[in-house]
Symmetry: C2
Subunit: 222 residues, 2 copies
DNA sequence: TGTACATCAGTGAACGCGCGTTCACTGATGTAC
DNA sequence: TGTACATCAGTGAACGCGCGTTCACTGATGTAC
């Protein structure tokens, strides 16, 4: 509207042999845009090109079509997501604290990156070489291990299959966080992280509640 | 590809004074299309018009724009959804059987209408006069009542706030069913309805498991 | 050290598409007189 | 019973838009001789 908009980035062309850098710029810009609009469907190849100050056709030197770009974005998101969860559950002392921290980190990532999170678990991920499967299995394995550690430790009384518990837990967290993201106008009675803790404890049947940092919703919504 | 496609419906113009019938046709066609594509984003006003054999502008006599059409669709879906859940939980004898039947019906609706279900709880519902709020609150109230009946009956031991339990349960079911819908290629170890029952029982802390029809996944996927 | 050349990192124009929306219109039909 | 007219239920053409994708190209730069 004014004349003072910065315009598209004034790019300098990459040096010879370094054309591959554009690929990273593309993926990163696309991820940002999904983050901002909260929506894959509104991501367009042309808009990505515009944002990084490049012509639309130059994207085709790195991706054969727009679906491959989307797959690349989702791959990057899964990597970030896994890193965030692992980071969160590492420093914890007791296994049950680590499990809760991991679940909190799961939800925090979704709150911080609604667009990517929605995308990763949507039916919009282009199928053929989707990284959802291996990444999802790995995530579930990590969660299973965290639950098993609680069982070994005695913090979880039940001897139910930890893989099964992990699956129920995953689904429950997914539902909790998605509803909050998608229906922000709903009159949610509790802060999200209270519900997350409560759901974890109920589903895995904890015996003792960890004494440590119980309910500080690191950056709770609202 | 052949020449034998039926073409667009060969409509007869509504009689004078009955133009309102087109409105229903529009909403119903739009709902069907969301059901088929599984996706609101791919719904277009022109495609709806094409399907019912009418010109695109004639939709504007019933909806001021495409967003109002979407809101009308979501309203209809919520009504159907509530009816299906109420129908399912009515005939049950014991309250706990009614609760389980209600939860099963919740998931069954989602399985049968993936597109509408996803839409209803997505951030794509146009905001201003979205019917999500009242319908969601009513649904939660019904679930709360069902849980409270179990507590009164003694089937649920805990005296925890039934409204709170209903919320956790809703979220968990939402997550279970959405993950199955959106990641069908994931190696789900159990049938969905087993997980649903299990989640209900764990979350609300049932004392006795109902003897009746336990695990017939009325029309389970796969 | 100089030069021809291949390659690299892009660009600009153009294509056909489906979309939401607006506009002026048409023809059938019920109604008032 | 007949007729003029208002209204109703739509239609057809057109608009401008952003999109994905293709095509032939350009100009800088590293490299072989």
């Amino acid at each position: 509207m004014g004349g003072e908009q910065t315009g598209p980035a004034l790019r300098v062309r990459n040096r010879r042999g370094e054309g591959g850098q554009l690929r990273e710029e593309i993926v990163s810009a696309a991820t940002q845009m999904i983050n901002e609009t909260g929506d894959v469907e509104r991501l367009s190849l042309r808009a990505v090109a515009r944002r990084i100050g490049v012509s639309a056709p130059s994207i085709y030197q790195h991706f054969p079509d727009v679906d491959h770009l989307k797959v690349a974005v989702v791959e990057g998101c899964f990597a970030q997501f896994a890193a965030a969860r692992d980071r969160a559950s590492r420093p914890a002392g007791e296994p049950i604290a680590a499990l809760l921290a991991r679940c909190r980190a799961y939800c925090q990532f979704a709150l911080d990156h609604p667009g990517p999170y929605r995308f990763m678990f949507s039916h919009h991920v282009p199928r053929p070489d989707a990284p959802t499967l291996p990444a999802g299995v790995a995530a579930l394995n990590a969660l299973t291990a965290s639950i098993r550690a609680c069982q070994d430790d005695g913090a979880i009384a039940t001897t139910d299959d930890p893989g099964h518990l992990a699956l129920l837990l995953w689904a429950a967290l997914h539902g909790l966080v998605l509803l909050r993201l998608n229906l922000p106008q709903f009159p949610w009675p509790e802060p999200l992280f209270d519900d997350v803790h409560d759901t974890v404890l109920r589903l895995v049947g904890t015996r003792r509640v960890p004494p440590g940092p119980r309910l500080e919703p690191s950056r709770s919504p609202r």
